[in-house]
Amino acid sequence: MDYEIETTMTLNGTQVTRRIAARTHLVDFLREEMGLTGSHAGCEHGVCGACTLRVNGDIVRGCLTLAVACNGKTIDTIEGVSDSGEAAEMQHAFHERNALQCGFCTPGMIMCAIDLVKNKPAAKREEIREYISGNYCRCTGYHAIVDAIEAVLISKQRLGGKS
């Protein structure tokens, strides 16, 4: 029986191959093996959203994803979307509105927020609240986070309208 499996994934654009213990969830793999400590574990049972990252372009719970199950898949983390500039506008909006305090929920929140922009470009406040409802933040009152995402959506809509 295989308790460790050789796994190859495209991690933030770079192909990596590692032997990974089957029980290791993706967040632990990224943090412990790859030094990508931006993804956080707040519960490890799928509720808090601190571990939100992308697998094959879709946001998922890193803590409920086995690293070995990512063989052949594309993984994007907060480090990746920061370095590529993909999240820059959202990060800027979060910064401007102080949509973070301790920052522990923030990487997951950003991953969710940029996914929202992609999937629900016309979302209103209520829908924004719904979309991020799986991401727990103890520090902010969510209000500023909603403000930040709304601001990005509005600016994108304006740009879209102009072109």
Partner: protein
């Protein structure tokens, strides 16, 4: 400080702003960054996932510990067999309470100023007996956390279950006693009586009485508790990376209980993922982790996972309160009479004790009002549940809810609108300084200004009209108000006088660097509140540099001045003042150097925008970088007997008042579905007075976060236990924290009544939101339920409780 901010909002427009100049004497006033919504510099790296939280650090030879915890609420450890665990793969050591006891001395959570408070000695790992489900019993150290958990599953324990005390009323009755040596289950008892209370009730036209209950909560910081202890036998030194709110306090405690000289101990708290009072206590598992590092002579890390956090992070706020209020028919409150019973778990938590929360309820109940008679009784009792201790807004949400709940009850009975009733009874804005019947003194509060502003931003009359119209259509909205007072920036009267090794004072060191930049070091810590950011703003303003020139460092006992850290909303009021004073001193010293360089009188110079200028002409004289260069590299060019001092430290501690009280008022609009008992929070408003607002952007979201935490307690959160003392919802799926979808938009506004006890004038702003939200929500729900003659009194207000109140189930 900006002239217009102060004039437009301060309660005393007559008091000229020059009372509290933010500039060095003899220099021109500068607006600076105080009052500006500046985004936080340190937030950018967090946004990119580049924080350095304790669990992000990497160490050679790092071992990880997992704890075997008591599955029982009260049981004798008959046998503990660690042999199988010891030989499991990757295991480094497995120890029990006896082994650790030799390394770490026990502690006792009592304070001398809480007269009569008692608690037994507590050890890092339970010895002979476990007294709550989740109490650590054995420690398993392994190469990885997973291996430690694997081995933990091999620990074999034989237990003899003992009778448990779960209900606080049973604890008070004392049929079963948890600690035989104490004789009963009472940890702390307090009574307060101004006298004449019975007389006030006898002559009252209106007497109302209510009983409220409050669920147990826990903090649920998204980042769990983490400690990484690294003992170095070669120098008998201890480095602890710890996501604590109070590094210097922990340094003291480690020194004392591990018998290591304080100077050999460094506690570092870099990025901390939320605190809320959870990370400011002595936890047995954390003390044990340090002990293990000493025993094993290597770094050992403990990361609480979420499920063990739920049974080991402190809980708070389990209260049953009976309260009575007497008023005359003109609507004047005459007296409050309070009876509070609270359950604190099997130990009073060290070193802050578990008596403070109840004590605060006694101190604060009735706080905004001008009655003269007050009587209160408190019992804090031991139970076999997890321990409770200070959690954000300690005691405030209880005091505010019972006060504001009974105030509404009186208003309704007297037929007076709740807003009007508050207006009649809130302490007048010109009545300060004021001594409240519980003995606490208020320097200056602004209840009426806040209430007026709140009613204005809510458009209260329109809301009432809308409510009436909707009621006719079967839509049941409720409007709730809650005025509160908030303990902030405490003096040594809070802990120090009782013997706790906790600094009420804080210090700040400011240094002008060669390039003209300013480095700030402060003992207050950052858990996301924006402490670093406001210190930057204050320092930049005080010295005269632009914000981009300031760097702030906190959270390292070896680097920062001595201080208390972050709790009780003390960061801005105490740390901020220390930074301000230090900044003024640094500026003065910089000007000394500049005057020597330019060979002019110091009074002719000022620093504006990183530049030394001539105050009379405004002419730019020198860039600060030039001052730095000369002071550090070319002191030979300065006059012979001149020595530059471009690093200065100043401290601050409030002394005049025990607490720098802040105040505020909240409004809540809810809609109750009388068929389902579901409550929709439509909107929430808060007007707070935290004195000088240093950064509105930060205060606003701090307030909102606090409100949402308060809403959590009112609507969702409760640590539930069964009759065997087993926690039933010790995970995040079942313990319901507030999430974005159910939360309302929250409108905030400020009144600024700067405290005169400091030059900065800032009071705290961290707990106002949490303090008042449950009260406002409860009153709003009960306002909606008024036509049904129904009322809720037990938090959290679950749909079932609402349906029960409505008689539907």
């Amino acid at each position: 400080m900006s002239q217009d901010i102060v004039n437009s909002t301060t309660t005393t427009p007559v008091a000229p702003v020059v009372d509290r100049p933010l500039q060095a004497p003899g220099t021109r006033p500068q607006t600076g960054y105080i009052g500006k919504s500046e985004p936080r510099a340190n937030a950018k790296r967090l946004l990119q996932g580049r924080g350095s939280y304790t669990d992000d650090l990497r160490f050679p030879r790092l071992a990880q510990v997992a704890y075997f915890r008591s599955p029982h609420a009260h049981a004798k450890i008959k046998k503990l067999d660690l042999s199988k665990a010891r030989v499991a793969p990757g295991v480094i050591a497995v120890v029990d309470g006896y082994a650790v006891r030799d390394i770490c001395s026990p502690w006792m959570g009592v304070l001398s100023h809480l007269k009569g408070i008692r608690s037994p000695l507590q050890f890092p790992l339970a010895i002979e007996r476990a007294r709550w489900q989740g109490e650590p019993v054995a420690a398993v150290v392994a190469e990885t956390r997973a291996q430690a958990e694997d081995a933990r599953d091999l620990v074999e324990a034989e237990w003899e279950e003992l009778p448990v005390v779960v209900d606080m009323r049973d604890a008070l009755a004392g049929q079963t006693v948890i600690h035989e040596e104490l004789g009963d289950n009472i940890c702390f008892h307090r009574e307060l009586d101004t006298g004449e209370v019975d007389a006030a009730f006898a002559k009252a036209d209106c007497v109302v009485e209510e009983s409220y209950s409050f669920g147990r909560h826990t903090g649920v910081c998204l980042e769990p508790r983490i400690i990484l202890a690294d003992y170095n036998a070669g120098e008998h030194s201890l480095t602890v990376h710890h996501n604590t709110q109070s590094p210097h306090m922990m340094q003291q405690l480690f020194a004392k209980h591990f018998d290591i000289p304080e100077a050999n101990i460094q506690v570092i708290a870099k990025d901390v993922g939320g605190g809320f009072g959870i990370k400011v206590h002595t936890y047995p598992d954390e003390m044990c982790t340090v002990a293990l590092s000493i025993m094993l002579r290597r770094p050992v890390k403990f990361v609480a996972d979420r499920m063990e956090s739920m049974v080991s992070d402190i809980h708070a706020r389990e209260h049953r309160v009976k309260i009575r209020l007497a008023a005359d028919k003109a609507g004047n409150i005459l007296a409050f009479d309070l009876d509070d019973l609270t359950a604190i778990g099997p130990y009073s938590v060290y070193p802050r004790t578990s008596g403070i929360e109840g004590n605060q309820v006694v101190n604060l109940t009735g706080g905004p009002y001008k009655h003269k008679q007050y009587r209160a009784k408190l019992d804090a009792v031991f139970t076999n549940k997890n321990v409770t201790c200070q959690y954000r807004a300690v005691g405030h949400p209880i005091a505010a809810a019972v006060t504001e709940g009974i105030v509404d009850a009186a208003a309704i009975k007297l037929g007076i609108d709740p807003a009007e009733f508050r207006r009649r009874n809130l302490i007048r804005d010109d009545a300060y300084p004021y001594t409240f019947p519980s003995g606490i003194r208020f320097e200056k509060l602004s209840h009426h200004k806040c209430l007026d502003k709140l009613l204005e931003i809510m458009d209260y009359p329109a809301l009432r009209a809308e409510q009436a119209a909707l009621r006719k259509k079967g839509i049941h909205r409720g409007i709730g108000l809650a005025s509160i007072i908030e303990v902030t920036s405490p003096s040594a009267a809070f802990y120090g006088v009782g013997g706790a090794p906790i600094s009420a004072q804080d210090g700040a060191t400011l240094r002008l660097d060669v390039s003209g930049m300013v480095t700030v070091l402060c003992g207050v810590t950052e858990q996301g509140q924006g402490t670093d950011a406001i210190f930057g703003q204050i320092a930049a303003t005080a010295v005269g540099v632009s914000l981009d020139k300031v760097r702030v460092l906190t959270g390292d006992t070896r680097v920062t001045p001595y201080g208390g850290g972050t709790w009780a909303s003390r960061g801005a009021g105490i740390g901020g003042e220390a930074v301000l004073q230090s900044g003024k001193a640094l500026k003065s010293n910089i000007l000394d150097v500049a005057a020597a360089m330019l060979n002019v009188k110091k009074v002719t110079l000022d620093i504006i925008d990183n530049t030394i200028i001539d105050t009379t002409t405004g002419e730019k004289k020198l860039p600060l970088a030039e001052v730095g260069r000369v002071a550090y590299f070319r002191p030979d060019t300065l006059p012979m007997n001149f020595q530059s001092e471009l690093t200065v430290t100043r401290h601050f501690v409030p002394r005049e008042y025990a607490f720098t009280f802040a105040n505020g008022v909240q409004g809540s609009l809810v809609e109750v579905d009388p068929d389902t008992g579901f409550i929709k929070m439509l909107k929430h408003w808060c007007v707070g007075d935290c004195g000088t607002v240093i950064n509105p952007l930060l205060v606003d979201e701090q307030t909102r976060g606090g409100i949402v935490q308060g809403i959590g307690g009112a609507m969702f959160e409760e640590c539930m236990y069964d009759e065997r003392g087993q926690m039933l919802n010790a995970n995040l799926a079942d313990y319901l924290v507030p999430m974005s979808f159910e939360m309302p938009d929250i409108v905030t506004a400020h009144i600024e009544t700067p405290t005169k006890t400091s030059e900065l004038g800032a009071k705290g702003a961290g707990e106002n939101g949490t303090a008042g939200a449950p009260a406002a929500i409860m009153n709003a729900i009960n306002d909606a339920l008024l036509p049904f003659n129904a009322k809720v009194r037990d938090m959290p207000f679950t749909p079932e409780r609402v349906l029960k109140a409505l008689g539907k189930v």
